[in-house]
């Protein structure tokens, strides 16, 4: 049976790992991305997500080049899938990341600005290569809005409607991130996960809110195929292996991982 996935998520700025609360507050340095990726590979984590947050509006391309260099070095060290996103706007951007070693590319702002970008990318590189990343906030009672440009610009799109449109455009997966819950470690947005799971035919990765085991179990029960985790691993003593091991022992359908060490 297909396992539920636990996916550490890294944010990169100029080639270094960083972390925030609610996307903008409380920036902290979080280490070397290549050595961290290698450690996670040796631990046997399921997958990695790496988002370059400086990339949208990177005028001289310096941040983008630093990212490509990091991706190339990471891909020499790890034998598991990883997704890279951040400022991906053209097929050339996608190609550069895939050639550098990424398996999937996450697309966010460009998908909204150019509605056929996802379909075009999926046609050239395959559905499985394209993950559509959707950041959203609650903006009223029961009302949510998709935000683009690293959470800076509000759109009139509802996350579920947008996810369904992107599914129709042949993306392989949705990565749904709650800006409100990012870094707060008080649980995932379970209602939104259930709403999307009910209507989506493609896998759903959710991000934003993991603070303890219970949050992870609830997110999987609500229908997430995978959970992306950042703060929990960087700033508490939870490790991906301990987390997965606890979940496995509680009967959650994750990889057993007992043999993951050499």
């Amino acid at each position: 049976m297909l396992k539920k996935r636990i996916i550490p998520k890294f944010l990169l700025r100029d080639g270094r790992l960083v972390k925030y609360v609610r996307f903008f507050d409380n920036e902290r340095m979080a280490g070397n991305p290549v050595s961290t990726a290698k450690v996670y590979n040796d631990y046997g984590v399921d997958e990695l997500i790496i988002l370059d947050i400086a990339a949208t509006g990177d005028p001289d391309g310096a941040s983008r080049r630093a990212t490509i260099d990091v991706i190339e070095r990471i891909s020499r060290e790890i034998f598991m899938p990883f997704t890279v996103g951040g400022g991906v706007a053209t097929p050339e951007d996608v190609n550069a990341l895939l050639r550098a070693g990424a398996d999937k590319v996450a697309v966010n702002t460009a998908a909204v600005r150019r509605p056929d970008f996802v379909k075009q990318t999926a046609r050239i590189f395959g559905d499985q290569c394209v993950t559509v990343s959707i950041d959203y906030r609650q903006v009223g009672r029961g009302v949510h809005a998709v935000y683009i440009d690293g959470g800076r610009e509000k759109t009139a799109l509802d996350p579920l409607e947008w996810a369904l449109r992107m599914q129709d455009n042949h993306c392989g997966e949705i990565l749904l991130s709650s800006i409100d819950r990012d870094g707060v470690m008080e649980g995932y947005d379970l209602e939104m996960i259930e709403r999307l799971n009910e209507r989506l035919d493609i896998p759903l990765i959710v991000s934003g809110g993991a603070g303890d085991l219970r949050h992870c179990i609830d997110a999987f029960d609500a229908g997430a195929s995978a959970i992306a985790i950042s703060s929990l691993f960087l700033f508490t003593d939870h490790s991906p292996i301990k987390l997965r091991s606890h979940l496995f022992n509680l009967g959650v359908n994750v990889r057993a991982g007992a043999d993951s060490h050499n």
Partner: protein
């Protein structure tokens, strides 16, 4: 043991496969050159993307003929991965009907899970259950036979003897096929950490 040629037809994560082969201690050569392919002791056919494009690219570079000569006539061991497994079938129904290499009596169709709520593409770690023994599974206990899959189509073998392993996703689907000097996996060994590294190592050591 000679080099391991990783067939480069413009589709597929050749770098990841090459990195993994290198990690296993072998000598990877990413190539479309008939001589380098002839000089290699083992071949790997990777692939990510659409079936129709893959066959067009293989034919355009004359690789269908090269592979037929090296693998079908000369008996060189070959490992097909993901789309590199599916193109071995006779026909695929992805975006219209496309002819494959026809090395296996099989077709490739969309995955339709019988259980509601299961998602496609089939993405993530799943168990591959062997239906018989094979050198590529040497040293891999049942608990380690979990690999990374990411695909929307599956290969249906008309001859059950060609199937080597199955996976479950609201139904039983082909996870691997094998006959004589050819073996192929739907999952990605180069993305499956130590289980995948072991499988690749087994392939590289295989003398069929």
């Amino acid at each position: 043991m000679g080099a391991v040629a990783i067939i480069d037809y413009g589709m597929g994560n050749v770098r990841s496969v090459a990195n993994a082969v290198d990690y296993c201690g072998a000598d990877p050569v990413v190539t479309a050159d008939p001589q380098e392919i002839a000089d290699a002791s083992h071949l790997i056919l990777p692939g990510v993307g659409a079936f129709g494009d893959a066959m067009t690219n293989l034919r355009r570079r004359g690789l269908d003929e090269v592979l037929h000569r090296e693998v079908r006539e000369k008996g060189k061991p070959m490992l097909g991965v993901c789309l590199g497994m599916q193109v071995l079938a006779g026909v695929s129904r992805e975006h219209g009907d496309h002819q494959g290499l026809g090395w296996f009596d099989a077709d490739v169709v969309r995955i339709i899970p019988e259980t509601p709520g299961l998602k496609v593409p089939h993405t993530g770690w799943n168990e591959a259950a062997p239906t018989r023994s094979h050198p590529i599974f040497a040293g891999l206990a049942k608990s380690r036979l979990t690999f990374y899959f990411v695909h929307s189509f599956h290969m249906r073998c008309r001859d059950e003897a060609d199937r080597l392993a199955i996976f479950e996703h609201g139904g039983r689907f082909t996870a691997a096929v094998a006959r004589d000097n050819i073996v192929a996996t739907q999952f990605h060994p180069e993305k499956s950490q130590d289980s995948g590294v072991r499988l690749l190592t087994n392939f590289i050591r295989w003398r069929p």
